[in-house]
Amino acid sequence: MPISHSILSPNEKHPTWIDVVSSKTATMVLFGVLAVFIFLILLVPENKAGGILNGRFFTAAVAFFFINLGAVLYRRFYRETNLSRVMVGSMVMHASMSILLVGAILSAALRAESGILLTEGQTAPAGDLMPNRNLTLEKMDVVRNRRGDVLDLSARLFVRSVEKGEQRLECKVNHPARLSGAWLYLKRYGMSPCIQIVDVAGKVVFRSFVNFDLIVNKADFLELPELGIILKVQRMSKDDSNFRLSVKDETGKYKVSAPEIRRWAEFKVIRDPGFGFAAAGCAGVLGGMMLRVMPVLKRKREPSVVAP
C-alpha cells in the first residue's frame, strides 16, 4: 500500500509532478475512488462485475494507483534515501512479478468464454458475457490472392442494446472487437448455401441455410434421412467459395437447388479480468529489468584507465 508524503524536500521550492501525484490528497482521493469501485463490485450481480472491472474508469483508477505507488516508492526509497537505480529496478521487477501472478490467478479463476455462430444476415443474443445485446453478422469479407490463400479476414457486425442503441463493429483476426468489457474474437468461418428441396408437386419441403466447413475439411455432408437425401459439398480449390454440390437422392422425387449463398462465422466471447493485471505486471517486470540492467551497460561506456 503506498505511503504518502506531503512534505517537500528542503532543497525544493516548487512541487514537482511526482510530489503532486504522491501527495496525501491524491492518495486519499485515489483510495476513495477504489473503495467506491470495490463497494460497487460487491453490490452488483456477478455477471455485471466484469463490466466494471474491465471498464475504462476502473482501468484508469488502477493505472493511477500504480502511478501513485511508483511515485511514492520513488520519493521514499530512491530520492529521499538515495537507493541505487539497480535496487529500485530489482524491486520493481520482483514486485511486478507478484502483479503478474495476481493476473494469472484472476485469469485462471474468473476467465469465462462462450461462442456465437452466425450466418450473414442472422441476429442472435450475444449471451451472458455480453448481456442485453443482440449481434447481427452483416458481412464477412475474405480477401484472397490468386492461389486462394487468405490474406485478410474480417466480420462486420451490428450490435443492438437497450442502453447504447445501435452500433457497428468490425472483428478481425488479431484485432478482436471490444464490447461492454468483453472481447469478441473471430474464430472460424465457412460457406453457408441456402439449400432448397422441392418435391414433384412443386412444394418446398426443405429450405435452410446450412453451414459447411470447407476450410478444415475438403468435403462436408448434409444428411436428410426423412427425405432419403445426402448432400455432399466438395471444395474444388484452396478457396472454399469454389465448391461443388452433389446430391444422392434415393427416391428420385426431389429437386435440390442452392438459390443463395452466404457465409457463416463462429465468434468467441471472452471476459478475462486477469489480462489487465498480467499486462501491467509484464510492463513492470520489463521496466524493472531495464532499470536493473542499464547501469551495467552504463559502466561499460566508462573510459578505461590508461597506465602511465
Binding site: 485469469s107 487468405v150 483476426v173 472481447w183 474474437y185 478475462d272 498480467a278 499486462a279 540492467v293 551495467v296
Partner: protein, 270 residues
C-alpha cells in the same frame, strides 16, 4: 526459392564451412594459417544477408514463417552476435574456439533449415501482427545470445588456463546470458500479448510456451546464482550448457514430439 537465393545460400554455407576448417587447422597445428578465418566469416555474413534480403523481396514479408526462414534469420543473427562478441572480447582470448562453436551451430541451423520446406508462403491473417514480429525478433536475439554464451561456457569447461582468464570468460558468458535473458523476457511478453489478441488467452500452457518459461526460469536461476552466491565457474559454465539444451528442446525437440500451436507456424502452407 529462387536460383539467386540458392547461390547466395550455398555461398554462405561454403564460407562458414571454410572458416570452420581454417579455424580447426589453426587450433590443431597451433600455427596461424595463411588465410584469416575472420575474413571468410565476414564474406559468409555478406552472402547470408543477401540471402535474407532476397527472401524478403521474394516473399514480401519478414522471414519468420517457415522453419527454413526461421533458421536462416536465427543463424544470421547468431553470426552478427558472434562478431559483436569478438569485438567486445578481443582481450579475453578464446576467440578461435568461440568462432568454431558458433560456426558449428550456424551450419547445423542452416543444414536443418534447407532440409525443410523452402517454398514461399504468404502471410495469412494470424501472422499479421506487430506483436508476433516482436516475439520472433526477440526470440532470435535471445537464442543467439545463449549460443554465444554457451561458447564461452564450453571454453571454461574444456580449457585448462589460469583463473584470471577463466574469470574473463565467465564474465563474458554471464553478460551474454543476461542479454539473452532480457530478450527472452521481451519474447515471452510479446508472445503472450499476441496470443491474447489472436485467441483470447495470454497463456495456454502450450508445450513450447511451458518449455520457454522453464528455460527462462532456469536462466533466471543461473543469474541469481552467479550474482548472489560464490559458485564455482565450472558449475556456472555447466549450467549454461544445460540451459542451451533446454533452448534446443524448446526450438526443435518439442515440435517433433507433441502438438503445439507453434508447429502451426512451421507447417503453415503445407
Amino acid at each position: 526459392m529462387t536460383k539467386i537465393e540458392i547461390v547466395f545460400f550455398w555461398s554462405a554455407v561454403a564460407a562458414y564451412a571454410l572458416a570452420w576448417i581454417v579455424s580447426l587447422s589453426r587450433a590443431v597445428f597451433q600455427k596461424p594459417a595463411a588465410v584469416n578465418p575472420q575474413g571468410i566469416v565476414y564474406a559468409g555474413v555478406f552472402f547470408q544477408t543477401a540471402t535474407v534480403v532476397i527472401r524478403v523481396w521474394e516473399s514480401g514479408h519478414l522471414p519468420y514463417l517457415l522453419a527454413y526462414e526461421n533458421t536462416l534469420s536465427l543463424s544470421l543473427i547468431l553470426m552478427v552476435s558472434y562478431l559483436a562478441a569478438g569485438h567486445y572480447s578481443k582481450k579475453v582470448g578464446g576467440d578461435g574456439f568461440v568462432r568454431m562453436f558458433v560456426l558449428a551451430a550456424v551450419l547445423c541451423l542452416m543444414g536443418y533449415g534447407i532440409l525443410q520446406d523452402t517454398g514461399v508462403e504468404p502471410l495469412t491473417p494470424p501472422y499479421r501482427s506487430g506483436w508476433l514480429y516482436l516475439h520472433v525478433f526477440f526470440a532470435w536475439f535471445s537464442h543467439a545470445a545463449y549460443i554465444v554464451a554457451t561458447g564461452f561456457a564450453v571454453l571454461i569447461l574444456v580449457r585448462r588456463v589460469d583463473g584470471e582468464r577463466k574469470a574473463a570468460w565467465d564474465k563474458k558468458a554471464y553478460q551474454w546470458i543476461l542479454f539473452g535473458f532480457v530478450c527472452h523476457s521481451f519474447m515471452l511478453a510479446a508472445g503472450s500479448i499476441w496470443a491474447h489478441y489472436l485467441w483470447g488467452s495470454w497463456w495456454s500452457w502450450d508445450p513450447i510456451e511451458t518449455w520457454s518459461l522453464f528455460t527462462w526460469l532456469f536462466y533466471g536461476f543461473y543469474l541469481h546464482l552467479r550474482k548472489q552466491f560464490a559458485v564455482k565457474k565450472e558449475i556456472l559454465a555447466a549450467l549454461a550448457v544445460i540451459g542451451l539444451i533446454g533452448i534446443l528442446i524448446t526450438f526443435w525437440g518439442i515440435q517433433l514430439w507433441v502438438e503445439s500451436v507453434h508447429n502451426m507456424v512451421y507447417e503453415s502452407g503445407k
